[in-house]
Amino acid sequence: MTSSAQMNAPAPSSLRLVLTLAIAGLISGIAIIGIYESTLPTITANKARELREAVFKVLPGVSEMQQLVYRDGNLVVTEERRKDEQAVYGGYDRDGDFVGYAIPAAGPGFQDTIGLLYGFAPQQKHVLGMEILESRETPGLGDKIYKDAEFVGSFSALSIEPNIVAVKKGAKARPNEIDAITGATISSKAVVRIINEAHAEWSKRLPPAGSEPPLRGTGPAGSGGSP
């Protein structure tokens, strides 16, 4: 055995023990910093791309977006956001005209928190689209809130005033009603409730329709991204 020599040796001094651990910790720390630094750009880029894709999905026809942070009673166009501040994303079309807000919201579902993003057009007071970002709903039933194309599709041109109502499948009669998923009533209602609550919260904060913050950097006429 290779370690037999060590076994017979007298107990090493405390200094040696501390030193061993310190060196191990140091090397480990350097390795972790190295991997963190080298993967950070990719991770940030992935997150930004994911967000962009989600925003473009819930706001059809949008080609530019910017973060709008709610600060001191106003929506401020800024890249930086403090932890305690809430943000929405403004979507703009090719000409730089405002299309709608993409609003993140979260709330309890059937099993765990459902996180979602929905597109909101303040002019018509319509929901333009909905994308589930995070959910642990029951596979096969509750997960239809993002797998069932019909359900996801019903969140387009959906009137949100006074609020959205989930009704039994096939019973949709008014513009603010959607069909709940058969067998997943609780999850469908949770999605509707989350959007309603977020809407109630944000409708107090958003500026009146027509006076949304313009796309930053350029005038309303020619936006940076379009030719």
Partner: protein
Amino acid sequence: MKQNESYEEFIKGIWRDNPVFVQVLGMCPMLAVTNSAVNAIAMGMATFFVLVGSSFLVSSFRNWIPKQVRISCFIIIIATFVTVADYTLLALVPKVHKELGAFIPLIVANCMILGRQEAFSSRYPVRLAVMDAMGMASGFLLALFSLGAIREILGDGALFGIDLFGENFEPWIIMILPPGGFLTLGVILLFFNWFRFKKDEFLADVAAAERGGNG
């Protein structure tokens, strides 16, 4: 002879001493992330990387690490590899990382990994330690994959996301839920034990027959 020895260390982890089916170690990732074959393989690969890497380092430094602080040193080494695996997965395959979630950091708590360091890598030369780690990790990967494949086939009618049975397949929802993990693992363990029981019985029969023939 040397070749045989390292081959022996490798192969024992896959079948005779399989960490999951025989030693019943590493149950947390085994039950938690095997709801699809892809997740199972991702977890298996991450564990492979961590186990082989730590075994290599532990075995290389085995004469420098005082035995009073060996467990702390092992954990520091393992945790470093786990962090590296965590960030790499997050950067390369964010979707898989999202599915595995908290279970990647929890690899550090997989008792199979610390167990190999304590029982093997800290006592044997690097070549054997790495072979042993590769064998154990492959056995773990195979076990995760077989569980993940069974659960995905029954629970989703698919393998690696490819539909196997067509539109009308009725998925067994329970299989992709936590109880499905327990049920499938139980059935596989049942099969393993039954197989070993039969094998022992058979070997005893053969031995008895040979004794009878000689006497």
